[in-house]
């Protein structure tokens, strides 16, 4: 039976703060999660939720207080497994005395490629991230977006099976974000597994097979973006225009707003047809009917609000 790409079991990390009397702060609390091969998985959560901590634990940059994890069936303590994974750290910073080409060549040397293969790969991936023209410029002269691009190039340079990207869209302009999205989709097309953390929820909605939401070190839930959104259709929006002299139906008048000649009303999903019927009786011209779905962003804020003591009825599928 093939191994799952990522298996995390009860991963916990405590940080100790304070000088004299060290107090533990739990950054990650019993994270259990599995990511399938070929899946694009989005890791969502506000700052300090534990996303980067999780990735650092998986990369062996930190050591767990409790729990275990396996990547492609091999323990995260097994450095040999790193041949099959790629990692983009958050806000990456590389040796600024190297050029983009030298940096990629340096990293490629750890995989035992010969000079000609290194050269070919470096050129290919510099082009892939749009840095061919800046290949021979020292990294200290790179913009934040360029550093992010070279960071992505170094993460995928060796064609890894599993790629971990910590905030890959950070610092990128819309063109750069689109290019990174294309790279992620291309990796998925080639059967690679991608786990990335992000604050940009539209990217998660667009790219991810599944997302996991982390809050204060605890996994709140896992599911596909559509699963999460489908359970929370908040109502229907009707855009319409009325002929001159026609009044609004009394029961809709209160909720209706007007911009120029256009009127907008939100009604519960089950009252949609009755509302349309009443508008039809007044010879209203219906311009559009749109379901109002909460965005992942709304969902996110609801979770944060719940964490802060507010209670919202948010249900998502749990694994």
């Amino acid at each position: 039976m093939p191994h799952k790409a990522i298996e995390i079991d009860g991963l916990t990390k405590d940080y100790y703060t304070g000088f004299w009397r060290k107090r533990p702060h739990r950054a990650l609390d019993g994270l259990t999660l599995q990511v399938e091969n070929g899946e694009v998985f989005g890791f969502l959560g506000p700052n300090g939720a534990g996303k980067s901590t999780t990735l650092k634990l998986l990369m062996g940059l930190m050591f767990p207080t409790a729990g275990t994890a396996r990547i492609l069936g091999r323990s995260i303590e097994d450095v040999g497994m790193h041949k099959q994974i790629g990692y983009l750290p958050e806000q990456p910073y590389f040796y600024d005395y190297l050029t983009g080409r030298e940096l990629l060549d340096y990293f490629a040397r750890f995989f035992g490629y010969g000079p000609s293969e290194r050269r070919e790969r470096v050129d290919r991936f510099l082009e892939r991230v749009g840095l061919s023209a800046a290949a021979n410029i020292q990294l200290r002269k790179y913009s934040k977006g360029m550093l992010q691009r070279v960071g992505i190039a170094q993460a995928i340079l060796h064609d890894p099976q599993v790629v971990f990207l910590d905030e890959p869209m950070s610092g990128l302009d819309p063109v750069g974000r689109r290019e990174v999205r294309d790279i992620i989709l291309d990796m998925r097309k080639h059967g690679r597994t991608v786990l990335f953390s992000t604050h940009i929820l539209s990217d998660a909605e667009m790219l991810c097979d599944r997302v996991g939401v982390l809050l204060s070190g605890k996994l709140q839930g896992v599911g596909s973006p559509s699963e999460i959104l489908d359970v929370r259709v908040q109502g229907m929006e009707i855009l319409f225009e009325l002929p001159p002299g026609r009044a609004l139906p009394p029961d809709l008048a209160e909720q209706t707003t007007q911009t120029g000649s256009r009127l907008r009303v939100e009604v519960p999903e089950e009252e949609l047809y009755a509302a349309l019927e009443r508008l039809h009786l007044r010879q209203a011209r219906i311009l559009s009917v749109t379901p109002i779905k909460a965005t992942l962003e709304d969902y996110f804020f609801q979770l944060v609000g719940r964490e802060n003591g507010e209670h919202h009825a948010v249900e998502i599928s749990k694994e």
Partner: protein, 257 residues
């Protein structure tokens, strides 16, 4: 293999950070000394140039070993350049020994170039080399061993201390190591068995830098015994291993936040 990849990059970093610019100061010092000594000294030009040259090579090397050594690991953690690197199939001890070897390579190249400068100054004042000048090369070899040991100490401290604390500890240990024989003698002079025991223990525990200093002998053209060369080589290798093992152990278990 991975160690060598990291070492070469560390050397490249030192070169691009203009570390070797110190050679300009060394060259100016040697040229000035040669011209000055040639004008005013009678018969001791060789002695003065060798003394000055070897002392300068030692001081320049120590300053580099300490100040670059304490930042070797710290800088990588602080700037987070280490994160992407350790995601490669490289073990932490390979990274650490690579950084160490890279700085040693830098120090060796720097020392070799300074040796050429010293040789040219000697050629200027003595118009040739003597057979006894071989001792100068032995003295330079001992300086390199000393630098290798200092670098190892700086690297050890930098695995768990800030650069400032690491600098203080490394320089403090170097000074204590230079005077370790005197510390033991002082303990014996007190007449107290406790003080004598403590200072004797310190003598054996502290790195003995005193034995690496043969500058005076080299300046006077005295031959350096082969036994001392073997003893210093083995001592330095053993002590460096004793320092690098705990450094690797500490670094291998450290959280990189």
């Amino acid at each position: 293999m991975h160690t060598w990849v990291v070492a070469i990059n560390t050397f490249r970093e030192a070169v691009r950070d203009r570390v070797l610019y110190n050679l300009i100061f060394f060259s100016l010092l040697m040229m000035g000394a040669a011209v000055l000594v040639g004008g005013i000294s009678i018969g001791i030009e060789h002695l003065v140039i060798v003394n000055l040259g070897l002392t300068a090579i030692s001081i320049f090397g120590i300053v580099m070993a300490v100040f670059i050594g304490v930042g070797l690991v710290y800088k990588e953690i602080d700037k987070r350049t280490l994160y992407a690197l350790l995601a490669r199939p490289i073990r932490r001890w390979e990274f650490l020994t690579g950084k160490y070897a890279g700085l040693l390579l830098t120090l060796a190249v720097n020392t070799a170039l300074m040796t050429v400068g010293l040789a040219m100054a000697l050629l200027y004042v003595s118009h040739g080399f003597l057979r006894a000048d071989f001792s100068i090369l032995v003295a330079i070899y001992f300086i390199l061993l000393e630098l290798a040991l200092i670098t190892a100490l700086a690297l050890l401290f930098s695995c768990f201390c800030s650069p400032m604390i690491s600098t203080i500890l490394t320089i403090g240990l170097y000074i204590a190591g230079v005077f370790s024989s005197d510390i033991r003698s002082f303990g014996a002079l007190t007449g107290s068995s406790l003080a004598g025991g403590i200072t004797s223990a310190l003598y054996y525990v502290l790195p003995n830098f005193h034995n690496f200093n043969v500058i005076a002998a080299a300046a006077h053209g005295e031959a350096i015994p082969a036994a001392l060369i073997v003893q210093n080589t083995l001592y330095a290798m053993a002590y460096i291993a004793l320092v690098l093992f705990p450094a690797a152990a500490i670094f291998s278990h450290r959280d990189l936040k």
